[in-house]
Symmetry: C2
Subunit: 171 residues, 2 copies
């Protein structure tokens, strides 16, 4: 199965010059969505993982189903202000200004191995911030897993201290 | 199993006077999350459903896993500006100002039966707007399914033209 057949390219979204990779066709095709989940499942089913964390909000679509199948705890990394207190936050620089992400304070026990999931790896900024947040809380990153990787944006370089797995790469 | 044991009350979030129902403990407990998904699965497994639609963003956590189990297409209702064009939108009034939700233009074929999923039913404003959007696109609402219902906010009254199912109610 070629996942790319179910990813639609949308030029100039959300702003001019950006080529958006739309996973709506993948979600709309149950066989392809099942294939993607099962690929993750096969990769992680025999690994020692304590917790799956999904990155808001499309990461939830893959993290939740995988957590169900692996029978593992699930937590959400969210933008500041979405999760009720108490939370732990991590602030990081964007192209213009800063952003702040959070996890529930009790989401991670020290030493927990975390599988971090998102739909897409671009520059890796949010994934890296999520790793820093998880480590700040005492967790260890088993791997960062994404469906799509935009290879030309060199997210792996930014995430060079971590293992990264993606199901399909755009060079 | 009592789902409420895994829902945490957080007073005055996101603003004073609001009692927030936090599903983080439910997600963190694989048995409870599994129970919730399986309750939905048992209810819908023999029904004629063409499409599952999850409401952004906590609705994704339940809609996606259920779509996987039922082997059904999945679509996301999102706030305006998150989905690439072409989309169909529906605008609705909030307490202060308006809001606008969208679906991909090709998400629904006329006559499709849709199961609409969210984590929580409060006043029902977003669910009602989602139903109107789905109907505008030619879909029919099989049922609106939520994990938590805040009964005292009378969401069912606002949604009286539709079937509503919730797994646990706060009166």
């Amino acid at each position: 199965m070629n996942i790319k057949d179910f990813i639609r390219d949308m030029p100039d979204f959300p702003k001019p010059g950006i080529l958006f990779r739309d996973i709506s066709p993948l979600l709309a095709d149950p066989r392809t969505y099942r294939y993607v989940i099962d690929q993750f499942y096969e990769r992680y089913k025999n690994q020692s993982i304590d917790l799956i964390i999904g990155i808001e909000s499309r990461g939830f679509l893959f993290a939740s189903t995988l957590a169900y199948k692996l029978e593992l705890p699930l937590a959400m990394v969210r933008k500041h202000g979405k999760l009720p207190p108490p939370t732990v936050f991590y602030e990081y620089a964007l192209e213009y200004g800063n952003d702040k992400i959070e996890l529930p304070s009790n989401a991670i026990h020290p030493g927990n191995y975390v599988l971090l999931i998102d739909d897409l790896l671009a520059t890796g900024g949010t994934a890296l911030a999520s790793c820093h947040l998880i480590e700040k809380m005492g967790g260890k990153i088993l791997e960062i897993a994404t469906v799509i990787e935009l290879g030309f944006l060199n997210g792996r370089e930014q995430l060079k201290d971590y293992k990264v797995f993606s199901q399909t790469v755009y060079d």
